[in-house]
Amino acid sequence: MFEVVSNEILAENLHKMVLVAPRIARARKAGQFVMVRLAQGEERIPLTIGDADPEAGTITLFIQAIGASTRKIVDTPVGGSIRDVAGPLGKETHITNWGRVACVGGGVGTAVLFPLVKALAEAGNEITTIIGGRSSRYVILADELGALSKNLLITTEDGSLGSKGFVTGPLGEMIADPACAPKAVFAVGPVPMMKAVANMTREPGIETIVSLNPIMIDGTGMCGGCRVQVGSETKFACVDGPEFDAHLVDFDGLSDRLTSYRKEEAQRHAATDCKIAKEVAK
């Protein structure tokens, strides 16, 4: 059992949860994730370890409640507990001092980016962080990331905060200007965003690393469910990743595999929504 010590709402459907998990807090490195299972009979869900406090024995998760399982996880109140939290899993990010780097986060990807930015800052990199969301309500962790970065740029699709447009806008400007072109780019977010970033940095040959989010079951390399095509090889994101060279990833294949259970999930949502509606009606 893993106790929930805090559960904050950062934006619509986006929660920051702190759990007691002393061993994981001690062992984890940037880029790693945990497999979370709320209770008996529930699904195992991969979530990035956003932050950790080895002294307090806690880890921080940023969770976007999109489907039935993540919704149930974020509904756990402070003082409640989560039955299973296993990790840290995945390879740690290869952190070195590149000099100038750009870190790009979209939506909940921003949360996944946070431990990366922190580790890159500790290694002495000069960081430009570009984060984006649909509107100001979906832009998260701006203050925390701002404190770690030399520059923080924000984009929103509706222009309600920062510049109007996508994260690729400011990134494109950076790359075009030899005075501020990054040596490396880290991008985390929706698959189409990571694909767009990869396409921008391929031509100028800027090393680009993305953190992939395929469907996972065990997270330990046993099931093969998380496979992605990277270059000419099939890789298991949970043990070989989740970070990969963006220029080699087959993003279209990944997006496509992520829709595998769309029909099944929709039926489940309908089922849970109905139950809630019935409860309310009572």
């Binding site: 062992a27 195992r44 296993a86 840290p88 079951i217 330990t220 390399g221």
Partner: protein
């Protein structure tokens, strides 16, 4: 009935038939297929045993169960004694009685098998083990051992780890099992389906260990949460039994299409995470009318029979050799056939054909013929030119095998591995690190429950010796 029968009388008894659920009924649910023997059947079958001096059967058993002794007790209807004999040699008899390939082990060497049918040793083992579970009061109590003050960490809660833990606890050592998944049993739970091995059996066997003082910590991944060097410093000895690992890919076109599963994913979703078993299960699984399973081992049989139970109208095994070469247990093949599984033999997959929107539509195959024997002693399949054809399928499951998982070994640089990445261990299970032992699939590659248990038992004896040095 008396057990003072003459050999002639014993020879006159015919081998028992295990009562089974009717095939059309069971192929729609996950209930156990084999229903177990009645008391009369069990005693009569036990009386078929000639109690011969040569004890060939014992030699055929990787853990050396005292087979004639437990069968003799059963033939005399002395179940407490039969159970005691069995428990003394085998930590998981109710599991072995259900999943061991007896026909190639103990029963293969039974004297009675030379002319007619071997004694149904597996069925009898299961009968005695099940009786013992239901009659804990009838069992001879095991005395709690004197604590030795030594501690042992066991990595992995599969058959090898469970067996070693039991043996070590019996010696009075303090044992902690670390398991990466959220539940116990290893392949017994996430791989082997309930229609062959009910989860309750695993729970009960695990409960016996807990009563003996073994601690089990799930959600701990050795190599990640804790490392072997850390365990080595916190415990007096370590036994590694983390199983086989990564699925082997087919390396054919279309392998990453939607609807293509590796066997472990398919089975884990259903067995460990209850997908398709309960209407309200939160784990999704695909269900299609035509399911093609590639492979001929126990894993392939489990996948195809599970697919059938999830509603597949056409559930097919595609195997590149012929049925005689299939490594699956004979009983599993028989049960699969009865349940309407189609066997497409001498057929190798060459590609997976997509629909326009990225789903599987068919398995492209090629017919094979058998050439001369290869290193494994089995005849090598050779492709027949121009024999390609498409097998329509909405789901394709790859059940061709696994290779060693590097997750643990990557953080234990002092551990010597062989060229396939398996841990190198000597006869007694000792590895290149003093005080660290290993056994089961991680040493052998994909093998069997009983071989894993045999490793656990031998390693426990070696660890005990090591700790007493």
């Amino acid at each position: 009935m008396s057990n003072d029968l003459s050999p002639k009388e014993r020879m006159a008894i015919e081998r028992v038939h295990m009562p089974e659920l009717p095939a059309d009924e069971r192929s729609k649910n996950f209930e156990e297929v084999n229903q177990g023997l009645t008391p009369e059947q069990a005693v009569a079958e036990a009386q078929r045993c000639l109690q011969c001096k040569s004890r060939n059967c014992v030699a055929g058993c990787p853990v050396g169960v005292s087979i004639p002794e437990f069968i003799d007790a059963l033939a005399s209807d002395d179940l407490p004694r039969a159970a005691q004999v069995l428990r003394g040699d085998n930590a998981l008899p109710a599991v072995c009685g259900r999943v061991c390939p007896q026909e190639t082990q103990c029963e293969a060497l039974c004297v009675r098998g030379k002319k007619g049918d071997a004694v149904a040793i597996g069925y009898l083992e299961r009968y005695v083990a099940d009786w013992a579970m239901q009659h804990p009061e009838g069992l001879i109590a095991i005395e709690a051992p004197e604590p030795t003050g030594k501690s042992v960490a066991v990595v992995g809660c599969g058959p090898a780890g469970l067996t070693a833990a039991g043996e070590l606890a019996r010696q009075g050592h303090k044992v902690t099992i670390f398991e990466a998944l959220h539940d116990t049993g290893g392949v017994l739970r996430y791989g082997i389906p309930e229609f062959r091995l009910p989860k309750e059996i695993i729970d009960r066997e695990v409960a016996v260990l807990s009563r003996m003082g073994v601690t089990i910590e799930c959600n701990v991944i050795i190599g990640k949460t804790l490392t072997i060097p850390q365990l080595r410093s916190e415990f007096d000895a370590v036994f590694i039994a983390n199983g086989a690992g990564l699925p082997t890919m087919l390396n054919i076109m279309g392998e990453n299409l939607k609807g293509v599963y590796a066997a472990n994913e398919f089975l884990t979703r259903v067995n460990l995470m209850e997908a398709g078993r309960r209407a309200d299960s939160s784990t999704p699984i695909l269900q299609r009318d035509e399911v093609a399973v590639i492979g001929g081992g126990n894993t392939a049989m489990d996948c195809v029979r599970t697919a059938r139970r999830l509603g597949a109208k056409r559930a097919m095994i595609v195997y590149r050799r012929s049925e005689t070469e299939m490594p699956a247990r004979v009983e599993e093949i028989k049960h699969a056939k009865e349940e309407g599984v189609e066997f497409i033999m001498l057929t190798a997959p060459i590609a997976i054909v997509p629909t326009e929107d990225g789903w599987v539509s068919a398995l492209r195959c090629q017919k094979m013929e058998l050439g001369p024997a290869d290193d494994s002693g089995r005849r090598r399949p050779q492709a027949i030119e121009g024999s390609e054809f498409d097998l329509p399928a909405g789901i394709v499951i790859n059940a061709v095998g696994t290779s060693a998982n590097p997750l643990l070994t990557a953080t234990a640089p002092d551990l010597t591995l062989n060229k396939w990445g398996n841990i190198v261990a000597d006869e007694e299970g000792e590895t290149s690190i003093p005080g660290v032992f290993a056994g089961g699939d991680i040493v052998r590659g994909g093998a069997t429950v009983i071989l894993a248990m045999g490793d656990g038992k031998r390693a426990a004896a070696a660890i005990d010796k090591y700790l007493k040095r």
